[in-house]
Amino acid sequence: MGSKYFHAIQILDENCTGCTACVRVCPTEAIRVRNRKAYIDPNRCVDCGNCVTACEFHAIIPSSDPLDIIQNYKYKVAIISSSFFGQFTEDVSYAAAKQAVLKLGFDEVSEEAMVTDFMISIIRDYVRKNRDKRPILSSNCPAVVRLIQVKYPSLLPNILHQEAPMSILTRYLREKISKEKNLADEDIGIFLIVPCVAHVTAVHQPEGAYKHLQDGAFSTGMIYGKVRDILKDIQNNPEEIDTYPHGLTWALSGVQAELVDTDDIRALSVNGIDNVMDILSRVENHYLDQYDYIVLRSCTNGCVGGCLNVENPFVAMSRIKKMSKEGEDKPIHVEELEKLHAEGEFSVSPLAPRPIMELDKDIKKAIKKMKKINEFLTMLPGLNCSACGSPTCYALAEDIVLGKASLDDCVVLKRNNPANEEE
Protein backbone atom coordinates (compact mmCIF):
# COMPACT_ATOMS: atom_id res chain seq x y z
CA MET A 1 0.00 0.00 0.00
CA GLY A 2 2.39 2.73 1.20
CA SER A 3 -0.23 5.46 0.90
CA LYS A 4 -3.12 6.67 2.96
CA TYR A 5 -5.29 6.73 -0.16
CA PHE A 6 -7.42 3.81 -1.26
CA HIS A 7 -7.94 3.26 -4.98
CA ALA A 8 -10.27 0.90 -6.79
CA ILE A 9 -7.78 0.28 -9.59
CA GLN A 10 -5.06 -2.34 -9.64
CA ILE A 11 -2.33 -3.18 -12.11
CA LEU A 12 -1.65 -6.79 -13.07
CA ASP A 13 2.09 -6.84 -13.75
CA GLU A 14 1.89 -10.10 -15.70
CA ASN A 15 -0.44 -8.48 -18.26
CA CYS A 16 1.30 -5.10 -18.48
CA THR A 17 3.42 -4.69 -21.61
CA GLY A 18 4.68 -1.24 -20.65
CA CYS A 19 3.00 0.32 -23.71
CA THR A 20 2.35 3.71 -21.95
CA ALA A 21 -1.22 4.09 -23.27
CA CYS A 22 -2.37 4.66 -19.67
CA VAL A 23 0.45 7.14 -18.99
CA ARG A 24 -0.80 9.42 -21.76
CA VAL A 25 -4.47 9.51 -20.74
CA CYS A 26 -4.01 10.21 -17.03
CA PRO A 27 -5.29 13.73 -16.25
CA THR A 28 -3.16 14.09 -13.12
CA GLU A 29 0.00 12.51 -14.57
CA ALA A 30 -0.18 9.83 -11.89
CA ILE A 31 1.12 6.92 -13.99
CA ARG A 32 4.70 6.06 -14.91
CA VAL A 33 6.14 3.04 -16.70
CA ARG A 34 9.47 1.96 -15.24
CA ASN A 35 11.19 -1.32 -16.14
CA ARG A 36 8.34 -1.93 -18.60
CA LYS A 37 5.65 -1.99 -15.91
CA ALA A 38 3.06 0.68 -15.15
CA TYR A 39 2.85 2.13 -11.67
CA ILE A 40 0.17 4.46 -10.26
CA ASP A 41 1.13 7.12 -7.73
CA PRO A 42 -1.65 6.77 -5.13
CA ASN A 43 -1.25 10.40 -4.04
CA ARG A 44 -2.00 11.68 -7.52
CA CYS A 45 -4.69 9.24 -8.69
CA VAL A 46 -8.27 10.58 -8.62
CA ASP A 47 -9.93 7.31 -9.78
CA CYS A 48 -11.28 8.80 -13.00
CA GLY A 49 -10.96 5.45 -14.79
CA ASN A 50 -9.32 6.81 -17.97
CA CYS A 51 -6.51 4.26 -17.66
CA VAL A 52 -8.94 1.38 -17.21
CA THR A 53 -10.57 2.27 -20.52
CA ALA A 54 -7.25 2.93 -22.28
CA CYS A 55 -5.57 -0.37 -21.36
CA GLU A 56 -5.88 -2.94 -24.15
CA PHE A 57 -4.11 -5.71 -22.26
CA HIS A 58 -6.43 -6.11 -19.25
CA ALA A 59 -3.56 -5.03 -17.09
CA ILE A 60 -5.44 -2.22 -15.34
CA ILE A 61 -8.32 -3.80 -13.52
CA PRO A 62 -11.08 -2.04 -11.64
CA SER A 63 -11.67 -3.63 -8.27
CA SER A 64 -15.04 -3.78 -6.62
CA ASP A 65 -16.34 -6.00 -3.85
CA PRO A 66 -17.36 -9.64 -4.38
CA LEU A 67 -21.14 -10.08 -4.22
CA ASP A 68 -21.02 -12.70 -1.44
CA ILE A 69 -20.02 -10.08 1.19
CA ILE A 70 -23.73 -9.32 1.49
CA GLN A 71 -24.05 -12.62 3.40
CA ASN A 72 -22.29 -10.97 6.37
CA TYR A 73 -25.43 -8.95 7.09
CA LYS A 74 -28.88 -9.87 8.34
CA TYR A 75 -30.67 -7.30 6.20
CA LYS A 76 -29.22 -6.55 2.77
CA VAL A 77 -30.02 -3.43 0.78
CA ALA A 78 -28.91 -2.47 -2.74
CA ILE A 79 -28.93 1.12 -3.95
CA ILE A 80 -28.74 1.33 -7.72
CA SER A 81 -27.08 4.14 -9.65
CA SER A 82 -29.47 5.60 -12.24
CA SER A 83 -27.05 4.84 -15.08
CA PHE A 84 -27.64 1.10 -14.49
CA PHE A 85 -31.02 1.15 -16.24
CA GLY A 86 -29.50 2.33 -19.50
CA GLN A 87 -27.39 -0.83 -19.81
CA PHE A 88 -30.00 -3.22 -21.20
CA THR A 89 -31.58 -3.89 -24.56
CA GLU A 90 -34.94 -2.20 -25.09
CA ASP A 91 -37.01 -5.32 -24.42
CA VAL A 92 -35.85 -5.20 -20.78
CA SER A 93 -38.11 -2.90 -18.79
CA TYR A 94 -36.91 -0.63 -16.03
CA ALA A 95 -39.04 -2.54 -13.49
CA ALA A 96 -37.65 -5.91 -14.62
CA ALA A 97 -34.04 -4.76 -14.33
CA LYS A 98 -34.74 -3.50 -10.81
CA GLN A 99 -36.51 -6.72 -9.86
CA ALA A 100 -33.52 -8.72 -11.12
CA VAL A 101 -31.15 -6.84 -8.81
CA LEU A 102 -33.40 -7.68 -5.86
CA LYS A 103 -33.17 -11.37 -6.81
CA LEU A 104 -29.37 -11.28 -6.58
CA GLY A 105 -30.03 -11.89 -2.87
CA PHE A 106 -31.04 -8.54 -1.43
CA ASP A 107 -33.92 -7.97 1.00
CA GLU A 108 -34.63 -4.53 -0.35
CA VAL A 109 -33.64 -2.58 -3.41
CA SER A 110 -33.63 1.18 -3.64
CA GLU A 111 -32.31 3.62 -6.21
CA GLU A 112 -30.63 6.94 -6.68
CA ALA A 113 -33.54 8.19 -8.79
CA MET A 114 -35.79 8.21 -5.69
CA VAL A 115 -34.12 11.26 -4.18
CA THR A 116 -33.33 13.29 -7.31
CA ASP A 117 -36.05 15.88 -6.64
CA PHE A 118 -35.14 16.14 -2.98
CA MET A 119 -31.47 16.59 -3.96
CA ILE A 120 -32.39 19.48 -6.25
CA SER A 121 -34.10 21.24 -3.32
CA ILE A 122 -31.02 20.69 -1.10
CA ILE A 123 -28.76 22.11 -3.80
CA ARG A 124 -30.91 25.20 -4.33
CA ASP A 125 -31.09 25.80 -0.60
CA TYR A 126 -27.30 25.44 -0.27
CA VAL A 127 -26.57 27.74 -3.22
CA ARG A 128 -28.87 30.44 -1.79
CA LYS A 129 -27.23 30.23 1.65
CA ASN A 130 -23.69 30.38 0.24
CA ARG A 131 -23.83 33.24 -2.24
CA ASP A 132 -20.42 34.45 -1.04
CA LYS A 133 -18.77 31.28 -2.40
CA ARG A 134 -20.13 31.58 -5.91
CA PRO A 135 -20.00 29.46 -8.01
CA ILE A 136 -20.86 26.35 -5.99
CA LEU A 137 -19.37 23.21 -7.55
CA SER A 138 -21.28 19.93 -7.54
CA SER A 139 -19.99 17.13 -5.29
CA ASN A 140 -21.75 14.06 -6.66
CA CYS A 141 -18.86 12.91 -8.89
CA PRO A 142 -16.16 11.53 -6.55
CA ALA A 143 -13.47 11.82 -9.27
CA VAL A 144 -14.18 15.54 -9.58
CA VAL A 145 -14.01 16.06 -5.81
CA ARG A 146 -10.60 14.32 -5.73
CA LEU A 147 -9.44 16.25 -8.80
CA ILE A 148 -10.20 19.51 -7.01
CA GLN A 149 -8.35 18.29 -3.91
CA VAL A 150 -5.19 17.50 -5.87
CA LYS A 151 -5.11 20.14 -8.62
CA TYR A 152 -7.42 23.01 -7.68
CA PRO A 153 -7.27 23.20 -3.86
CA SER A 154 -8.18 26.90 -3.87
CA LEU A 155 -11.66 25.84 -5.05
CA LEU A 156 -12.36 23.44 -2.15
CA PRO A 157 -14.57 25.95 -0.28
CA ASN A 158 -16.75 26.18 -3.40
CA ILE A 159 -17.69 22.49 -3.33
CA LEU A 160 -21.25 21.67 -2.30
CA HIS A 161 -20.62 20.32 1.19
CA GLN A 162 -23.57 17.91 1.19
CA GLU A 163 -23.65 14.16 0.62
CA ALA A 164 -24.44 12.81 -2.87
CA PRO A 165 -27.88 11.26 -3.54
CA MET A 166 -26.87 7.63 -2.91
CA SER A 167 -25.32 8.56 0.44
CA ILE A 168 -28.34 10.62 1.43
CA LEU A 169 -30.46 7.62 0.64
CA THR A 170 -28.11 5.41 2.66
CA ARG A 171 -28.53 7.61 5.76
CA TYR A 172 -32.30 7.65 5.31
CA LEU A 173 -32.55 3.88 4.83
CA ARG A 174 -30.32 3.12 7.82
CA GLU A 175 -32.57 5.15 10.09
CA LYS A 176 -35.75 3.74 8.63
CA ILE A 177 -34.72 0.07 8.57
CA SER A 178 -33.21 0.03 12.06
CA LYS A 179 -36.50 1.45 13.42
CA GLU A 180 -38.92 -0.62 11.35
CA LYS A 181 -37.08 -3.94 11.53
CA ASN A 182 -35.60 -3.31 14.96
CA LEU A 183 -32.08 -4.10 13.75
CA ALA A 184 -28.69 -2.88 14.98
CA ASP A 185 -26.61 -0.76 12.60
CA GLU A 186 -24.06 -3.55 12.05
CA ASP A 187 -26.80 -5.98 10.99
CA ILE A 188 -27.85 -3.76 8.10
CA GLY A 189 -25.67 -4.01 5.01
CA ILE A 190 -26.14 -1.24 2.46
CA PHE A 191 -24.42 -1.62 -0.91
CA LEU A 192 -24.15 0.50 -4.02
CA ILE A 193 -24.31 -0.67 -7.61
CA VAL A 194 -21.98 1.73 -9.32
CA PRO A 195 -20.90 2.77 -12.82
CA CYS A 196 -17.31 3.80 -12.11
CA VAL A 197 -14.20 3.16 -10.03
CA ALA A 198 -14.47 6.58 -8.37
CA HIS A 199 -17.70 5.48 -6.71
CA VAL A 200 -16.09 2.26 -5.48
CA THR A 201 -13.29 4.34 -3.97
CA ALA A 202 -15.80 6.75 -2.44
CA VAL A 203 -17.57 3.86 -0.69
CA HIS A 204 -14.31 2.58 0.80
CA GLN A 205 -12.84 5.99 1.57
CA PRO A 206 -15.59 8.62 1.66
CA GLU A 207 -14.35 12.21 1.68
CA GLY A 208 -15.74 14.30 4.50
CA ALA A 209 -18.28 11.73 5.72
CA TYR A 210 -19.37 12.18 9.33
CA LYS A 211 -21.44 9.01 9.52
CA HIS A 212 -21.31 5.32 8.60
CA LEU A 213 -22.42 5.07 5.00
CA GLN A 214 -22.17 2.01 2.75
CA ASP A 215 -20.69 -1.43 3.36
CA GLY A 216 -19.54 -2.19 -0.15
CA ALA A 217 -19.82 -1.36 -3.85
CA PHE A 218 -20.56 -3.67 -6.75
CA SER A 219 -19.61 -2.86 -10.30
CA THR A 220 -22.38 -2.74 -12.89
CA GLY A 221 -20.17 -4.78 -15.23
CA MET A 222 -19.53 -7.45 -12.61
CA ILE A 223 -23.19 -8.15 -11.77
CA TYR A 224 -24.40 -7.65 -15.34
CA GLY A 225 -24.12 -11.30 -16.39
CA LYS A 226 -25.97 -12.56 -13.31
CA VAL A 227 -28.68 -9.94 -13.73
CA ARG A 228 -29.23 -10.98 -17.33
CA ASP A 229 -29.63 -14.62 -16.31
CA ILE A 230 -32.24 -13.67 -13.71
CA LEU A 231 -34.00 -11.41 -16.23
CA LYS A 232 -34.91 -14.38 -18.42
CA ASP A 233 -37.20 -15.70 -15.65
CA ILE A 234 -38.54 -12.31 -14.63
CA GLN A 235 -39.58 -11.31 -18.13
CA ASN A 236 -41.91 -14.32 -18.20
CA ASN A 237 -43.28 -13.73 -14.68
CA PRO A 238 -43.13 -9.98 -14.00
CA GLU A 239 -43.74 -8.77 -10.44
CA GLU A 240 -44.70 -5.30 -9.20
CA ILE A 241 -41.91 -3.01 -8.02
CA ASP A 242 -41.77 0.75 -7.34
CA THR A 243 -40.06 2.84 -10.00
CA TYR A 244 -38.95 6.48 -10.31
CA PRO A 245 -38.59 7.12 -14.04
CA HIS A 246 -38.51 10.89 -13.69
CA GLY A 247 -35.46 10.75 -11.38
CA LEU A 248 -33.45 8.47 -13.68
CA THR A 249 -32.14 11.45 -15.61
CA TRP A 250 -29.74 12.10 -12.72
CA ALA A 251 -27.34 9.78 -14.62
CA LEU A 252 -27.19 12.20 -17.54
CA SER A 253 -24.97 15.23 -17.72
CA GLY A 254 -26.90 18.43 -18.34
CA VAL A 255 -30.13 17.41 -16.67
CA GLN A 256 -29.08 18.23 -13.11
CA ALA A 257 -28.06 21.75 -14.15
CA GLU A 258 -31.36 22.22 -15.98
CA LEU A 259 -33.30 21.14 -12.91
CA VAL A 260 -31.37 23.37 -10.50
CA ASP A 261 -31.49 26.37 -12.84
CA THR A 262 -34.26 28.79 -11.84
CA ASP A 263 -35.03 32.54 -11.64
CA ASP A 264 -32.31 33.28 -9.11
CA ILE A 265 -29.90 30.39 -9.81
CA ARG A 266 -27.92 30.13 -13.00
CA ALA A 267 -26.42 26.69 -13.55
CA LEU A 268 -23.83 25.27 -15.94
CA SER A 269 -23.17 21.64 -16.77
CA VAL A 270 -19.87 20.07 -17.87
CA ASN A 271 -18.84 16.49 -18.63
CA GLY A 272 -15.63 14.71 -19.61
CA ILE A 273 -12.57 15.20 -17.44
CA ASP A 274 -10.69 17.43 -19.93
CA ASN A 275 -13.65 19.81 -20.08
CA VAL A 276 -13.94 19.64 -16.30
CA MET A 277 -10.30 20.71 -15.91
CA ASP A 278 -10.72 23.56 -18.38
CA ILE A 279 -13.78 24.82 -16.51
CA LEU A 280 -12.08 24.51 -13.09
CA SER A 281 -9.15 26.54 -14.39
CA ARG A 282 -11.57 29.25 -15.53
CA VAL A 283 -13.33 29.21 -12.17
CA GLU A 284 -9.93 29.74 -10.59
CA ASN A 285 -9.50 32.82 -12.81
CA HIS A 286 -12.89 34.11 -11.54
CA TYR A 287 -14.09 33.95 -15.10
CA LEU A 288 -17.26 31.99 -14.41
CA ASP A 289 -18.52 34.02 -11.47
CA GLN A 290 -21.76 34.66 -13.35
CA TYR A 291 -22.79 31.07 -12.52
CA ASP A 292 -24.28 30.14 -9.18
CA TYR A 293 -23.89 26.39 -9.61
CA ILE A 294 -21.70 24.24 -11.84
CA VAL A 295 -22.33 20.53 -12.30
CA LEU A 296 -19.11 18.68 -13.09
CA ARG A 297 -18.98 15.05 -14.21
CA SER A 298 -15.73 13.31 -15.02
CA CYS A 299 -17.21 10.86 -17.55
CA THR A 300 -18.63 11.45 -21.02
CA ASN A 301 -22.35 12.33 -20.77
CA GLY A 302 -22.23 11.89 -16.98
CA CYS A 303 -22.51 8.61 -15.05
CA VAL A 304 -23.68 6.71 -18.15
CA GLY A 305 -20.07 7.14 -19.33
CA GLY A 306 -18.60 5.34 -16.28
CA CYS A 307 -15.91 2.78 -17.09
CA LEU A 308 -17.73 -0.06 -15.27
CA ASN A 309 -20.78 0.21 -17.52
CA VAL A 310 -21.31 -2.13 -20.43
CA GLU A 311 -23.27 0.07 -22.85
CA ASN A 312 -21.96 2.98 -24.93
CA PRO A 313 -22.63 6.28 -23.08
CA PHE A 314 -24.67 7.76 -25.91
CA VAL A 315 -26.87 4.72 -26.35
CA ALA A 316 -27.37 4.45 -22.58
CA MET A 317 -28.29 8.13 -22.45
CA SER A 318 -30.89 7.73 -25.18
CA ARG A 319 -32.46 4.74 -23.39
CA ILE A 320 -32.64 6.54 -20.06
CA LYS A 321 -34.23 9.56 -21.71
CA LYS A 322 -36.85 7.27 -23.21
CA MET A 323 -37.54 5.48 -19.90
CA SER A 324 -37.76 8.74 -17.98
CA LYS A 325 -40.80 9.75 -20.02
CA GLU A 326 -42.66 6.50 -19.38
CA GLY A 327 -44.69 6.04 -16.20
CA GLU A 328 -45.10 7.93 -12.94
CA ASP A 329 -42.79 8.13 -9.91
CA LYS A 330 -44.00 6.53 -6.71
CA PRO A 331 -44.32 9.36 -4.15
CA ILE A 332 -41.65 9.28 -1.43
CA HIS A 333 -41.69 10.43 2.21
CA VAL A 334 -39.98 13.77 1.77
CA GLU A 335 -40.81 14.78 5.38
CA GLU A 336 -38.42 12.15 6.73
CA LEU A 337 -35.65 13.32 4.42
CA GLU A 338 -36.30 16.95 5.30
CA LYS A 339 -36.12 16.14 8.98
CA LEU A 340 -32.73 14.44 8.56
CA HIS A 341 -31.50 17.34 6.43
CA ALA A 342 -32.54 19.84 9.11
CA GLU A 343 -30.64 17.79 11.68
CA GLY A 344 -27.48 18.11 9.55
CA GLU A 345 -27.35 14.39 8.74
CA PHE A 346 -26.33 15.08 5.13
CA SER A 347 -23.57 17.58 5.88
CA VAL A 348 -19.98 16.89 4.90
CA SER A 349 -16.95 18.02 6.90
CA PRO A 350 -14.70 20.64 5.23
CA LEU A 351 -12.77 18.93 2.44
CA ALA A 352 -8.98 19.02 2.80
CA PRO A 353 -6.48 19.57 -0.01
CA ARG A 354 -4.22 16.77 -1.31
CA PRO A 355 -1.69 18.94 -3.10
CA ILE A 356 0.46 17.10 -5.66
CA MET A 357 1.78 19.97 -7.68
CA GLU A 358 4.27 21.45 -5.18
CA LEU A 359 7.92 20.64 -5.89
CA ASP A 360 8.87 21.54 -2.33
CA LYS A 361 7.27 22.92 0.82
CA ASP A 362 9.90 25.69 0.84
CA ILE A 363 9.32 28.10 -2.04
CA LYS A 364 13.03 28.87 -2.43
CA LYS A 365 13.87 25.18 -2.75
CA ALA A 366 10.94 24.79 -5.14
CA ILE A 367 12.36 27.57 -7.33
CA LYS A 368 15.76 25.82 -7.37
CA LYS A 369 14.12 22.60 -8.48
CA MET A 370 12.14 24.45 -11.15
CA LYS A 371 15.41 25.90 -12.52
CA LYS A 372 16.90 22.41 -12.69
CA ILE A 373 13.77 21.11 -14.43
CA ASN A 374 14.12 23.84 -17.04
CA GLU A 375 17.80 22.89 -17.53
CA PHE A 376 16.92 19.23 -18.13
CA LEU A 377 14.03 20.26 -20.36
CA THR A 378 16.44 21.95 -22.78
CA MET A 379 18.38 18.66 -23.07
CA LEU A 380 15.28 16.60 -23.88
CA PRO A 381 13.97 16.25 -27.46
CA GLY A 382 10.54 17.79 -26.78
CA LEU A 383 8.66 15.06 -28.65
CA ASN A 384 6.44 14.14 -25.69
CA CYS A 385 6.49 10.55 -26.98
CA SER A 386 6.18 8.99 -23.47
CA ALA A 387 8.52 6.16 -24.51
CA CYS A 388 10.54 6.89 -21.35
CA GLY A 389 7.46 6.07 -19.27
CA SER A 390 6.70 9.65 -18.21
CA PRO A 391 3.80 11.39 -19.97
CA THR A 392 5.76 14.36 -21.38
CA CYS A 393 9.33 15.63 -21.63
CA TYR A 394 8.43 18.13 -18.92
CA ALA A 395 7.22 15.34 -16.65
CA LEU A 396 10.45 13.40 -17.25
CA ALA A 397 12.52 16.50 -16.40
CA GLU A 398 10.46 16.83 -13.21
CA ASP A 399 10.91 13.12 -12.43
CA ILE A 400 14.69 13.45 -12.91
CA VAL A 401 14.89 16.42 -10.53
CA LEU A 402 12.72 14.62 -7.97
CA GLY A 403 15.06 11.59 -8.20
CA LYS A 404 12.49 9.28 -9.79
CA ALA A 405 14.14 8.92 -13.22
CA SER A 406 17.36 9.68 -15.06
CA LEU A 407 18.29 11.23 -18.39
CA ASP A 408 19.13 7.68 -19.58
CA ASP A 409 15.40 6.91 -19.57
CA CYS A 410 14.99 9.09 -22.68
CA VAL A 411 14.86 6.66 -25.59
CA VAL A 412 15.44 9.35 -28.20
CA LEU A 413 18.56 10.73 -26.52
CA LYS A 414 19.93 7.21 -26.19
CA ARG A 415 19.41 6.48 -29.87
CA ASN A 416 21.04 9.71 -30.97
CA ASN A 417 24.05 9.19 -28.75
CA PRO A 418 26.74 7.32 -30.78
CA ALA A 419 28.42 6.15 -27.57
CA ASN A 420 25.38 3.98 -26.88
CA GLU A 421 25.38 2.35 -30.29
CA GLU A 422 28.87 0.98 -29.82
CA GLU A 423 27.94 -0.70 -26.57
Binding site: N285, M357, E358, M370
Partner: protein
Protein backbone atom coordinates in the same frame (compact mmCIF):
# COMPACT_ATOMS: atom_id res chain seq x y z
CA UNK B 1 4.49 58.73 -23.89
CA UNK B 2 2.00 58.76 -21.07
CA UNK B 3 2.73 56.83 -17.94
CA UNK B 4 0.42 55.48 -15.27
CA UNK B 5 1.48 54.04 -11.91
CA UNK B 6 -0.66 52.36 -9.32
CA UNK B 7 0.95 51.07 -6.14
CA UNK B 8 -1.20 49.56 -3.41
CA UNK B 9 -0.83 51.03 0.04
CA UNK B 10 2.15 49.66 1.90
CA UNK B 11 3.97 48.45 -1.20
CA UNK B 12 5.74 51.72 -2.12
CA UNK B 13 9.04 50.79 -0.48
CA UNK B 14 9.09 47.26 -1.86
CA UNK B 15 8.47 48.44 -5.42
CA UNK B 16 11.19 51.08 -5.10
CA UNK B 17 13.54 48.43 -3.75
CA UNK B 18 12.70 46.09 -6.63
CA UNK B 19 13.32 48.81 -9.23
CA UNK B 20 16.74 49.62 -7.76
CA UNK B 21 18.12 46.13 -7.18
CA UNK B 22 17.91 44.96 -10.83
CA UNK B 23 18.40 41.30 -9.93
CA UNK B 24 17.83 38.56 -12.43
CA UNK B 25 14.64 36.54 -12.17
CA UNK B 26 14.81 33.00 -10.81
CA UNK B 27 12.51 31.55 -13.45
CA UNK B 28 11.25 33.10 -16.68
CA UNK B 29 8.29 32.15 -18.82
CA UNK B 30 7.66 33.93 -22.12
CA UNK B 31 4.56 33.63 -24.21
CA UNK B 32 3.56 35.06 -27.58
CA UNK B 33 0.07 36.54 -27.79
CA UNK B 34 -1.15 36.69 -31.42
CA UNK B 35 -3.64 39.38 -32.45
CA UNK B 36 -7.32 38.37 -32.07
CA UNK B 37 -6.44 34.73 -31.46
CA UNK B 38 -8.97 33.93 -28.77
CA UNK B 39 -8.30 30.22 -28.96
CA UNK B 40 -4.73 30.64 -27.79
CA UNK B 41 -5.32 33.63 -25.51
CA UNK B 42 -5.29 32.46 -21.92
CA UNK B 43 -2.65 29.78 -22.47
CA UNK B 44 0.14 31.98 -21.18
CA UNK B 45 -1.60 32.74 -17.92
CA UNK B 46 -2.69 29.13 -17.60
CA UNK B 47 0.94 27.93 -17.93
CA UNK B 48 2.05 30.53 -15.46
CA UNK B 49 -0.60 29.29 -13.04
CA UNK B 50 0.67 25.70 -13.37
CA UNK B 51 4.22 26.87 -12.76
CA UNK B 52 3.18 28.78 -9.64
CA UNK B 53 1.27 25.77 -8.32
CA UNK B 54 4.49 23.77 -8.63
CA UNK B 55 6.27 26.43 -6.60
CA UNK B 56 3.59 26.13 -3.94
CA UNK B 57 2.37 29.74 -4.14
CA UNK B 58 -0.47 30.37 -1.67
CA UNK B 59 -3.80 29.66 -3.34
CA UNK B 60 -5.38 33.08 -2.69
CA UNK B 61 -2.37 34.86 -4.20
CA UNK B 62 -2.40 32.36 -7.03
CA UNK B 63 -5.97 33.28 -7.90
CA UNK B 64 -5.10 37.00 -7.95
CA UNK B 65 -2.19 36.34 -10.30
CA UNK B 66 -4.43 34.15 -12.47
CA UNK B 67 -7.15 36.80 -12.76
CA UNK B 68 -4.76 39.69 -13.43
CA UNK B 69 -2.59 37.83 -15.96
CA UNK B 70 -5.58 36.34 -17.78
CA UNK B 71 -7.24 39.75 -18.10
CA UNK B 72 -4.05 41.32 -19.36
CA UNK B 73 -3.43 38.51 -21.83
CA UNK B 74 -6.96 38.85 -23.23
CA UNK B 75 -6.44 42.63 -23.42
CA UNK B 76 -3.39 42.20 -25.62
CA UNK B 77 -5.22 39.70 -27.87
CA UNK B 78 -8.34 41.87 -28.10
CA UNK B 79 -6.93 45.36 -28.48
CA UNK B 80 -3.41 45.17 -29.88
CA UNK B 81 -1.64 43.92 -32.97
CA UNK B 82 -0.23 41.13 -30.83
CA UNK B 83 2.51 41.04 -28.25
CA UNK B 84 4.46 39.02 -25.73
CA UNK B 85 3.83 38.12 -22.10
CA UNK B 86 7.06 37.94 -20.09
CA UNK B 87 6.63 36.38 -16.65
CA UNK B 88 9.48 36.62 -14.19
CA UNK B 89 9.41 34.72 -10.92
CA UNK B 90 11.48 36.04 -8.02
CA UNK B 91 11.55 34.42 -4.61
CA UNK B 92 9.33 37.17 -3.22
CA UNK B 93 7.27 38.41 -6.16
CA UNK B 94 5.90 37.75 -9.61
CA UNK B 95 6.58 40.42 -12.19
CA UNK B 96 4.69 40.14 -15.48
CA UNK B 97 5.31 42.43 -18.46
CA UNK B 98 2.96 42.64 -21.44
CA UNK B 99 4.64 44.31 -24.39
CA UNK B 100 2.53 44.77 -27.50
CA UNK B 101 3.00 46.22 -30.99
CA UNK B 102 0.46 49.03 -30.69
CA UNK B 103 -1.81 50.81 -31.49
CA UNK B 104 -1.52 52.26 -27.98
CA UNK B 105 -3.95 53.62 -25.41
CA UNK B 106 -5.16 57.14 -26.16
CA UNK B 107 -6.23 58.04 -22.63
CA UNK B 108 -5.00 55.71 -19.87
CA UNK B 109 -7.04 57.38 -17.10
CA UNK B 110 -10.21 56.86 -19.12
CA UNK B 111 -9.24 53.21 -19.75
CA UNK B 112 -8.99 52.74 -16.00
CA UNK B 113 -12.67 53.67 -15.51
CA UNK B 114 -14.75 50.50 -14.98
CA UNK B 115 -17.11 49.99 -17.92
CA UNK B 116 -15.15 52.04 -20.41
CA UNK B 117 -14.22 49.99 -23.47
CA UNK B 118 -12.93 50.54 -26.98
CA UNK B 119 -13.46 46.88 -27.94
CA UNK B 120 -14.67 46.26 -31.49
CA UNK B 121 -17.68 44.14 -32.48
CA UNK B 122 -15.68 40.93 -33.00
CA UNK B 123 -14.28 41.13 -29.49
CA UNK B 124 -17.69 41.87 -27.98
CA UNK B 125 -19.29 39.02 -29.89
CA UNK B 126 -16.81 36.69 -28.23
CA UNK B 127 -18.00 37.89 -24.84
CA UNK B 128 -15.07 40.16 -24.01
CA UNK B 129 -14.87 43.95 -24.00
CA UNK B 130 -17.00 44.76 -20.95
CA UNK B 131 -14.55 47.47 -19.94
CA UNK B 132 -13.45 45.73 -16.78
CA UNK B 133 -10.01 44.55 -17.94
CA UNK B 134 -7.65 47.19 -16.57
CA UNK B 135 -9.67 47.92 -13.41
CA UNK B 136 -9.73 44.19 -12.67
CA UNK B 137 -5.98 43.87 -13.19
CA UNK B 138 -5.44 46.80 -10.85
CA UNK B 139 -7.73 45.31 -8.22
CA UNK B 140 -5.74 42.06 -8.16
CA UNK B 141 -2.22 43.52 -8.33
CA UNK B 142 0.03 45.03 -5.67
CA UNK B 143 1.38 47.43 -8.28
CA UNK B 144 0.67 48.18 -11.91
CA UNK B 145 2.51 50.30 -14.44
CA UNK B 146 1.38 51.35 -17.93
CA UNK B 147 3.40 53.19 -20.55
CA UNK B 148 1.56 54.03 -23.77
CA UNK B 149 0.43 56.67 -26.24
CA UNK B 150 -1.81 56.73 -29.28
CA UNK B 151 0.00 55.09 -32.18
CA UNK B 152 2.70 53.55 -29.94
CA UNK B 153 3.24 50.13 -28.41
CA UNK B 154 1.90 49.59 -24.90
CA UNK B 155 3.83 48.25 -21.95
CA UNK B 156 1.78 46.93 -19.03
CA UNK B 157 3.62 45.67 -15.99
CA UNK B 158 2.11 44.11 -12.94
CA UNK B 159 3.64 43.12 -9.64
CA UNK B 160 2.22 40.65 -7.16
CA UNK B 161 4.11 39.70 -4.01
CA UNK B 162 4.10 36.03 -3.06
CA UNK B 163 5.77 36.40 0.31
Amino acid sequence: MAEYWYIAEGFEERIKDFQSRKTEAEVNLDFEIPEKDFNAAGKGSSELKDLLKRLGVNSEILRRIAVASYEAEINVAAHSKGGVMYSAVYDDLIHIRFQDDGPGIEDIDQAMVPGFSTADDLVRELGFGAGLGLPNIKKNSDAMHIVSAKGSPTLLELFIYIS
